[in-house]
Homo-oligomer: 221 residues x 8
């Protein structure tokens, strides 16, 4: 792919309310550099997802300097994110520490779009008391994103405790039957709690976009 | 199971905002009758789902008389639904006519909880112009529930056109690779449109519950 | 199969500590009758599993009269079960009412072998408070059998709360991704709670046998 | 495998109308070199597919010099392709930029056999207006090859808009349920548009061969 | 679904070149009757597919009288098919006699659209000489549709022998690993013959539509 | 993840009877080092699992010096294990030599918790006489853990020979249908011996925890 | 299918050494009757497989009278089988009584072709001593066919004990992970005993044909 | 694993008629060296399988010198193979050149046991005439081993042409649905030719062992 083949999806913000995002998995360093240059020429802000540290490090210094990079979530902001606006209405919860990268991708996507979010880690159901200690806080959120792998029991438990929209993000953490996140995905879809919704495995970005849709769009700056 | 084993989930409305619902698949006519009697004694309204015509017809006349039954969606209201309140904020869309029973289950669940919804049938992507004729209307809804089987391309197309929350309900319509809804489920989860969320195959009830969560709970009557 | 082909597994009790059991699924009424006659001639007690009501009703009156039949679990005792002995050391828990037939098969198997068990129904995680109300009781049991379908979150939650052996029995309850119990099976195997063990889908009989093994064998009468 | 084990499939062109093609995945550099020498001795043209850059770079200079190599599609022509003949009757369309390598393999195969083809990139259904802008052009083509991964909604949409043969090539782009292309494959096979046909995942070569079959064979030079 | 919900897809013929077709699986007798009445009022011809004998027999005499019904393929013509035009350019081949219903659906669909087709039964590869006796005939066809279940070896063998477009229709014939047609589908997609294309399992209708697309549309009457 | 995000699961021992364990797969060397420092500050003993040799070697000398590391099982003790107490009540058996790493993880976990266990290698059913030579010894154990890949026939054979609790650990050894351990898992769950229980593929740690639960908790030191 | 479409596979015996066989699953009573009439006109013997009792009973009296029918295996001989010749060289073994129908299909196929076979029932590995009592006898057979469902451990155990060809026939007996025979199939293919071969699930006919191939063809009468 | 844990399977030859074989996948160089030393001390011959070139090259010179290594099949003989005896009764056939490593493993195993075999490469069904040219030769063999990946149509075609035992070895060659050999495995098991038997994917060793079993054991030297 020559760089000029990149066609920015300009009217997306107008239509469905999101900023520009670039999914970097499978893209070469040269392709990413070209995309950054193109956006820079337009003064556009970009969210880069799935940008691992190796490829980030391989970018030229001038490109790296322009990025707000977060290694845990493998995301970068090119150009300023939208200003934060309004109260915190979203919480992002993880069952285990291994789920944090996926949760952080959701938090960073929300931040890019101008929304603050709480991140509450390691409240999986095998340690129920840690979860129960946070329930009141979670009950006050309009949207609760839950990143959980393995048996993904957490979305079901939360779905029975909080009134807000529960968005489950199955994660690919684990081995054996949990490998690749299929067990977590099936468990989340089969949740016995009414009204839990699900996105693709490891799709923290998608969960954040869904939260924004549910909240009526990103804040007007 | 003796009838007295049925334990109504009374505090659910207080906690997460839904009325009582009874999933009738796998329950005998005697069990359903006992549940109806129990609820009647409490003056409680119930939503019955997956109540097929055969079992409905096998209920005693006095039970049938107390039900508002809809054969297409296999749902019944026992006792009055909540009064309708507020403007219509949800649309329920189907790709093909075979998806209507699932869509109708969502519409009926919303109605039971006091929410009106549009039902827009047969706007699958193989007939794109029928869909495009309704886009402006759909863009005005806070939530769009999409029931689609086979290739489930409709949630992706809608996800790129409307700003509201798009909830995909894969349906078990079809044969070959589509049998049981697995192809539709995978396609919905893999949607290239950002922020599409998914519930279990044929789970119109769950999609409606998710819509209510996204709207901040059912209307206060 | 001619009836004489049935070869009772006589030395099993001596070797691994269980009474005789006959799995009736796929056996004709004539075959079951022949097995009953053969056992009767030996004065042996039999546990019959998966004996549905249709085939039970089709047995001759003299056969039915000799059976202690339970329709919910589809089990029958032919001949006296072993006398109850010792304190109750096993609890059998279900997530939903639909899981009761599988749980009851475990309870009945334990009873046939001379062990009492508590049956605690409908304490699924979507209604967490009902479960928490029983935790102290469950913590006192050496073995907790958990029958759960759909997302099978209950074994994980219990595995984090009780010190005894937690035996998960996934059930085939549900539809879509939950159909046939595969989602529940995967979730139970992927449990984030340490030391949860699993048997085949719907295998209440096997769970009870495992409990007896864990307790050091059935009581000596 | 010693090089002499390669047996060129000489009569294939006479029988079913394609030039010689060598699938290089899994072949060593030495094996590829031997094949090139053998073909060179016969003055035959070869199409090499799945020749990644690493192995291309490892070929001897004299071999590389004789190849028209394209890194995006991982294809090479050894010897001249057939002369272009006739009007452009095939379009090759991609849903996203990640699908371009597969699409390019189809374009290169067509070119090797003497057929020109349009390549239209990044017209996936999440950006419907980009697709609609090209529909009239696509309606004039006898064959439209569609490379699409993830939810593969594009073949269905196109199948409802154009009268020519629509050949879907699912691609292995994506993660989670989309990993390896299975979701895209199932969606393409379950397409609700009548008469969409499908080839194996990532099989751009096969799609081009099918196009040539549908057009009545490669042009006579 | 009330009958008036049926919205005929009138512009389809103009757009992509097929007559109206109604997929009857899952539709009730009343729904089919309403569709027939509606089409009759428009003087439109319909192709009905997946109309099994039981539901056909349950239609009113006046409806049955207006149908040209074929029990093997479970298809019916309501109203006259298009007149036959042109030479026979399509052959429909089956591997075994069990594949005939699927093949016949393709033949009937072609006939409805005005195309004649040969039907060549039971030339599976386990009896290779029967196939070889027909190869010259098959080599003269522009399109060869191959209905094959089990191991679906026939499309591969034919793909190496004939120059026309080979459309494989996997069938759900068989048991064990062949059950439901998944083995046949995988084998057809993995065909070692270049340019074989595939449609969904048992989709004889889709194969015929693809043939019409490949032939440049149905004949102009 | 910053190191301070590690929240030790302190009350676990009190609740369900296990020491602290850290699953190292997917954790960086820096994260493991931080966890070790934190535990060292608390004078706590840790069991580290899935710590491969590469990451062990990359730890600082001071960290390595404090670890009792076993390369075969990829486990380490940080701090002293519980003192051994009581007679040997558990045997850990492997079908083949490739299953030894998983079996050793179980043995090491038991040792960390203060329980001795026999390890009996390479008694798979294809060499039945080697197994039969050990049966009497195995019959005397309260728990027999069986690590077996491929066809996993060993748990079934043992389940018919010994009265203790048989815990099957399917291993991911093998290729083709055995790849990843799915065949072994299915075989273990479908065991024809009554009361065999199963944990996730390669989960030697979980099997040991289940053994401890079955034995009534780890020994009181 | 009209009856005349049945084309007997006459030269098969000459080519690969089997008599004519008709797979009756999916064939109507009328089709089977026509086949019987056609074969009768040629004085040919037929083996009918998968002919269930319902369809057998629905045949005309004159057809039933000409058949040697066995209800357990669902097979019938139309016309005399080949005369028995030579010593018994094949044993057919079942793991459980539920596997007998599949084993009997193999025995009957062998008998039709003129070979005697022992049938040894219910020697599954959970009752190892019953198997060991028959090992010497089994070691003397050139071919041992093993019908086994569930965990299919028996082929592995026998493969380690006998020198002859072990042909595993997985059976569809069982529930949960064993449902449909997939677990048994995987276990048989993954057998740790060298040289065990496998046929499709429930394919007793195929196992018998393979035995005849291995023995150098059916006996010359 | 310490080297002394290797327990040679000495009585195997006496029992089931094969020499000692060591599966090297997953074994370290040190483990393989220890096994070679142990066998050398016993003057035993070993067949090593799945010994890739990297680990072969890493063995000490003295070990390499004692091995007859073949890189294509990744096999080695340590010590002399059995002397060749008798006429050639086995043919090993491959569908494509990529299947040769698996076929060669079978040929080498046979050679180790004292049996000669023909190796016939690249006669896949897409080039049917190459296969037909060899049929008479293949009809004279008692056993025909067929290594085939992708659609694995070759075993079915051969099963209809030759009277000997046809042993299919699916290979893991290919991509998309063919990846890992699952499509080939399913096709081979579903073969429409009677009496084709199957071994695990890529299991050339097992196919050779089955051939030896079918031939009545390895030749007596």
């Amino acid at each position: 792919m020559s760089p000029e083949e990149y066609v920015p999806d300009l009217p997306r913000a107008a239509r469905i309310g999101f900023g520009e995002a670039v999914y970097c998995a499978g893209k070469s360093v040269a392709q990413i550099a070209a995309i950054l240059d193109e956006a820079s020429g337009r003064d556009a802000s970009l969210l880069l997802t799935r940008l691992d540290e190796t490829r980030f490090a391989a970018l030229a210094e001038r490109h790296r300097a322009g990025l707000d990079y977060d290694a845990v979530s493998r995301t970068a902001f090119a150009g300023p994110p939208r200003p934060l606006a309004g109260a915190t209405r979203v919480a992002v919860v993880t069952a285990g520490t291994s789920d944090i990268p996926v949760a952080r991708e959701a938090v960073r996507t929300l931040r890019f779009e101008g929304l603050a979010a709480d991140e509450i880690a390691d409240v999986g159901v095998a340690g129920l008391w840690r979860l129960l200690a946070r329930v009141e806080e979670l009950r006050s959120r309009a949207v609760v994103i839950v990143a959980a792998g393995m048996d993904a029991a957490l979305p079901s438990v939360l779905g029975g405790l909080v009134p807000g929209l529960v968005i489950a993000v199955p994660t690919s953490v684990g081995y054996g039957v949990a490998e690749g996140g299929r067990a977590a995905l099936a468990a989340a879809l089969a949740s016995c709690a009414p009204g839990v919704v699900v996105v693709n495995i490891d799709n923290g970005y998608g969960a954040a976009c869904a939260a924004i849709r549910a909240l009526g769009g990103r804040p007007v700056s």
